[in-house]
Amino acid sequence: MVEKAMTIKTMPQEDQLGSGHGACGGCGLSTAVNNVLRILGPDTVVYAPASCLLVFSAAYPISAFKVPFIYSAFENTGAVISGISAGLRKQGKQTYVVGIAGDGGTFDIGLQALAGAAERNDDVLYVCVDNEAYMNTGTQRSGSTPFGAWTTTTPVGSKTQGKRSFKKDMMCVVAGQDVAYAATLSIAHPNDFVKKVEKAKAMRGFRFLHIMTPCTSGWKTDPAVTYDLARLAVETGMWALYEIENGETTVTYRPEEMLPVENYLKLQGRFRHMSKEDIDTLQRWLCKRWDQRYHTDMVSKEEPKGDKELAMCGEETEGL
């Protein structure tokens, strides 16, 4: 008998990132982290490098984490979690080790330590919470910042109009190292989210979860639209939901049709300045990505039936 995948209705309910932390109202990051930790459970060790997460949840001596939490330096998430994992193994413990880094700590500053841990295939879970800039220090561009976005280091003026290069494909970088499991997640697709975290929890070896977490202050949006942004990102192709297991890529949610990227951009202050040409450039780049992702080699031939419904948690809202 095949066991039914975990859903938001059946997942553990005990909070591991408690109330009272100092994140902005409408922070996508704290939603993502709390839910990852709920599923991993109380027998977990968390490491977070310099990031919003560190500052809002664990400003000494107060901590919002109910599980043990450790902090060292910005660039070494991969190395520190590898070390904790080795130490616990020596003690014969089965504790889960999770490193939660932002996009700066993963795409740029933490890349070498991440690559090292991935190459050694250490038994750790690496979570990248991607809010597309260095938000903790007041919005500087990172390798994850999308084309055209305003940040303090890609300003908008007469000579330049926001970031001029495209977002780095971090999943390709990680998957290129033959890791045990890599997946992209979105807080707007709760059941897909839960299923992937549960899957990663059950595996051994290096596992990478990449979560898009909209940021209300850096993206200059209303806190209430955080959910809509996460949803629209997938529908417009700015974000995609898939997983890579044993080198095989499976799309876990395929949008019905591609929405124009403008629908996503117009909700955010960081894209307000964008010219028609720039939007077209971004749209063309997205269309190319979309075709690669959904129509060619990345689409699995045996996509399980009903998975799309599960991703949108359709079965949980029967009778609507």
Binding site: Q13, L17, G20, A23, F56, A59, K66, A224
Partner: protein, 299 residues
């Protein structure tokens, strides 16, 4: 030395106000510094900013603990912050409020100036950004800088960031606030409760600064100790739960960034208003519109 402490909410422009008043003092030929409270507080959280003005070089870099003037950018902060803590005898308070000064309960009897900066900002700037109007009121409440210098500083600082026209309108908002200020004396009915803290010496620090969940000094520290911060005070909008409409899908519980939604045994929910920041994500994810956002910090 003249010291000022601003109380605002993250995103309201308290830091900008502190910088502008310092710039105004420089135009008057004085020395000045301005800096924000360095902490982890984010948008919506009660925050502080500071300014110091003197006729000689300022080398003091600590926060302002005994201000000559406290500036309260939003009336509701009086309920949740000890705003008048350490106010010097003879010092004054500037409060953004529709009320008259003798209705403002700061916890100490002090000279108090009130101005309805929110209405002025809405009228002049078409947005509830109160920092420039507050600056005008400050110039009237005490004579440490002139309104002329304040307007000049606003035109320069806001003009530089937002364009000349914005600088001019903001300076007008300051002038209007200057004219509309009412000055009186505050009430002293509420107790001023200081923040509880643990301030260890280096000898008291545990090895590797590692902490268990335990009580140290006046507070709980270590894993799970964040519950002591009631982030519900940040709220300006409040979710109302409509139990009849709820389809028990638990999506709001999943999306809540503050773990302020609890599930009952049958998956109806219970919102914990001690921690809810009022972001509205629960209302936007709800497929049955069983959560609606209402204005104000209370239902």
């Amino acid at each position: 030395m003249y010291e000022i402490r601003f109380h605002g909410r993250g995103g309201q422009g308290a830091v900008m106000a502190a910088q502008t008043i310092a710039e105004a003092a420089v135009y008057e030929g004085l020395e000045a510094i301005a800096f924000p409270f360095f902490g982890a507080e984010r948008r919506g959280a009660p925050i502080m900013a500071f300014a110091r003005i003197d006729d000689k070089k300022i080398s003091l870099r600590t926060q302002v603990y005994q201000p000559d003037m406290v500036v309260v950018m939003e009336e509701s902060l009086i309920e949740i912050e000890p705003v008048a803590d350490g106010l010097k005898p003879g010092g004054c308070a500037v409060v953004n409020s529709k009320l008259s000064p003798n209705q403002i309960d700061l916890g100490v009897k002090a000279r108090c100036a009130t101005v309805d900066a929110t209405s002025i900002a809405l009228e002049m700037l078409k947005a509830p950004i109160v920092n420039t109007a507050i600056l005008g009121a400050m110039a009237r409440a005490d004579d440490f800088v002139s309104i002329k210098a304040v307007k000049e500083a606003i035109a320069s600082r806001f003009g530089e960031h937002l364009g000349e026209e914005a600088g001019r309108i903001n300076a007008q908002a300051a002038q209007m606030a200057y004219e509309k200020v009412s000055i009186g004396e505050s009430l002293a009915q509420r107790p001023i409760t200081k923040r509880k803290m643990w301030l260890p010496t280096w000898q008291e620090m545990p090895p590797g600064v590692a902490l268990y969940h335990e009580k140290r000094g006046e507070i709980e520290v270590g894993p799970g100790s964040s519950w002591q911060t009631r982030t519900g005070t940040w709220r300006t909008k409040t979710p109302r739960y409509l139990r009849d409409k709820c389809v028990r899908c638990a999506r709001c519980w999943f999306i809540c960034p503050d773990a302020a939604i609890k599930r009952e045994a049958d998956d109806h929910i219970d919102i914990n208003y001690d921690y809810c920041k009022g972001c509205g994500m629960c209302a936007s994810i709800c497929p049955a519109k069983a959560i609606e956002m209402t204005k104000g910090a209370k239902l």
